[in-house]
């Protein structure tokens, strides 16, 4: 219980020490940040750095991050790589298949804004044109440590979530993916 008491905010221990009071927000957010399960969604070169982050040297699993192959069991989606226009529809469909609360980390220059292919006829210039993004991670490709830093930033964002706001961290998330006209 020591770790829990250290990490949760606003804990009051009643005299006697057997019962602790905390906000449900802190407990729920602690659970959410400690076991973020991402969808393995490598599109291009950033996928290799993502795989290196799961491998032995950088070991993502010590942060609770454990890759899931199916969107139905995933909390977060790392969009790692260039989003081609042909791939946009499958990305939206997969995003909709993820259960709430869900988060997106745009990894790499291509997912942020088109990257080196900013003037290409067949590239979506940034995945935030089609789905809402929580953390943008620049780099071409970003190092595995940078990906871990992005997850840490996402954890800081999750800690600010409140139950009374619904399941989304931002109003954009509450509406789900953007509608394309």
């Amino acid at each position: 219980m020591g770790i829990v008491l250290d990490n949760l905010s606003k804990i009051e221990t009643l005299p006697g020490g057997e019962i602790a009071l905390a906000t449900s927000d802190s407990l729920i957010n602690w659970a959410r940040t400690s076991s973020l399960w991402p969808l393995t969604f490598g599109l291009a070169c950033c996928a290799i750095e993502m795989m290196a982050a799961y491998a032995a040297r950088f070991d993502f699993e010590r942060m609770g991050v454990f890759p899931r192959p199916t969107p139905r069991q995933a909390d977060v989606m790392f969009v790692a790589g260039t989003v081609a226009k042909k791939m946009a529809e499958p990305i939206i469909r997969i995003y909709k298949q993820m259960p709430e609360p869900k988060f997106v980390i745009a990894m790499g220059g291509c997912a942020n804004c088109g990257g080196p292919f900013y003037d290409s006829y067949s590239v979506v210039k940034g995945v935030d044109k089609i789905i809402p993004v929580d953390v943008y991670l620049p780099g071409c490709p970003p190092r595995p440590e940078a990906l871990m830093y992005a997850v840490i930033k996402l954890q800081e964002k999750i800690r600010k979530m409140k139950v009374k706001n619904g399941s989304g961290a931002t109003p954009l998330q509450a509406t789900g993916s953007r509608k394309l006209s």
Binding site: F41, E49, A55, A56, A84, M87, S122, C140
Partner: protein, 378 residues
């Protein structure tokens, strides 16, 4: 069983999408499978989910900027892409890189081949269900990537080569560290044999699966270990040598039957050959005649405008025969730059060999062809 119940159960055909998002880490490839029970009747690969229009973008960049885009083709072995591009443009302009630069080019190409085949080894194991080889492969790969980072600052995408040579010489202490890596790496190949090659589950899943005959392989234009696994002796480094490969001492491993296991084992043996070549290059680069030496040809201008003409250069990349067809009109931009991507041509054979396989064999065959979608879709 009585006569009435021994009639076969008629299974209707079902259409399944294999991809574009699937857990095996090959990228965004979709294979439209028509299956009857567990057996694949028809397979139609559908590519283009990573099409970035690179050939159009080459026409809108000057020659130095286009080099940066070439890294992103086969992203697991970026040095080969750089090398093929530089060779094609050097042929256009009639430039030759100095000897020290050529040895460095061969050295980093072979080191990158080791790193790329380690990715193949790890992901092929994961496809077959074995997760442990992935961790071992990436441990070795991290050491090779440390060497690259010490050399040029990049772990995965380098842009290290330049038209006329390489961008920077080997830093002090690099040669010793590289020797340490190779000394550590060579006994590991036996570990990999214990992990996967002699594993009975792995062998029964890959031997005899996805057999490609030699004549079919040549007709479909396969190249690289996928072609050599069928017994065809074609390696660009021996058939049409470039840089200093004609001075290197190495053998080309060949398979016998063209099944998945043969293609896998060709790559494992190639890693050993690449390690030998790295040592040969290190010896040459520390020798007196190349040390010190120029790493960049003289007289290559910053705003590079080769004379009008056409050139084709190809290299033996990790995935196969990677070629660049360059057309220049005398201007700052390439007029046309076509990439002959080996993975694009290798994927086409899936239409033929997947018919009759079981669904689980589809994963084995796809993994053994070792494609990278950056090269398929460009």
């Amino acid at each position: 069983m009585t006569k009435e119940t021994s009639t076969a159960i008629k299974a209707d055909q079902m259409f399944i999408n294999f991809g574009p998002q699937h857990p095996s880490t090959h990228g965004v490839l979709r294979i439209a499978l028509t299956v009857e029970g567990e057996v694949v009747i028809k397979a139609r690969p559908d590519v283009g989910y990573l099409h970035r229009g690179m050939e159009k973008l080459f026409e809108a960049r000057n020659y130095s900027q286009a080099l940066v885009l070439t890294d992103r083709l086969d992203y697991t072995s970026a040095m080969h892409n750089n090398l093929a591009y530089c060779l094609a443009v050097e042929k256009l302009a009639g430039i030759e890189a100095p000897l020290r630069a050529q040895y460095i080019r061969v050295l980093v190409s072979e080191l990158n081949r080791i790193a790329s085949h380690l990715v193949f080894f790890g992901t092929f194991g994961v496809d077959m269900g074995a997760f442990t080889p992935f961790l071992y492969a990436f441990r070795e790969r991290e050491m090779a990537l440390d060497l690259f980072e010490m050399l040029c600052g990049g772990r995965l995408l380098y842009s290290y080569m330049r038209v006329g040579g390489v961008s920077a010489d080997l830093p002090p202490g690099w040669i010793e560290k590289c020797r340490e890596f190779i000394t550590f790496f060579k006994p590991r190949l036996k570990d990999y044999d214990t992990l996967l090659t002699s594993n009975p589950i792995f062998r029964s899943r890959t031997e005899g699966v996805g057999v490609i005959g030699a004549e079919r392989a040549v007709s479909w234009g396969l190249s690289g270990p996928s072609l050599r696994g069928s017994g065809v002796n074609f390696d660009v480094r021996k058939n049409d040598p470039y840089c200093v490969y004609d001075k290197m001492n190495f053998t080309v491993p060949l398979g016998k039957t063209g099944c998945c296991f043969d293609r896998y084992y060709c790559r494992m043996l190639e890693m050993g050959q690449s390690a030998e070549m790295v040592l040969q290059c290190l010896d040459a680069l520390s020798g007196a005649e190349l040390n010190p030496g120029e790493v960049m040809a003289k007289g290559v201008p910053k705003m590079f405008k080769p004379a009008a003409g056409q050139a084709y250069a190809h290299v033996e990349a990790s995935r196969g025969d990677l070629g660049f067809f360059a057309v220049s009109d005398g201007g700052l931009n390439p007029y046309r730059m076509h990439v002959r991507g080996p993975s694009f041509i290798n994927v086409a054979i899936l239409q033929e060999i997947l018919a009759g396989c079981k669904i689980a064999d589809v994963v084995a065959v796809l993994g053994s062809l070792d494609i990278v979608l950056g090269e398929v879709d460009r």
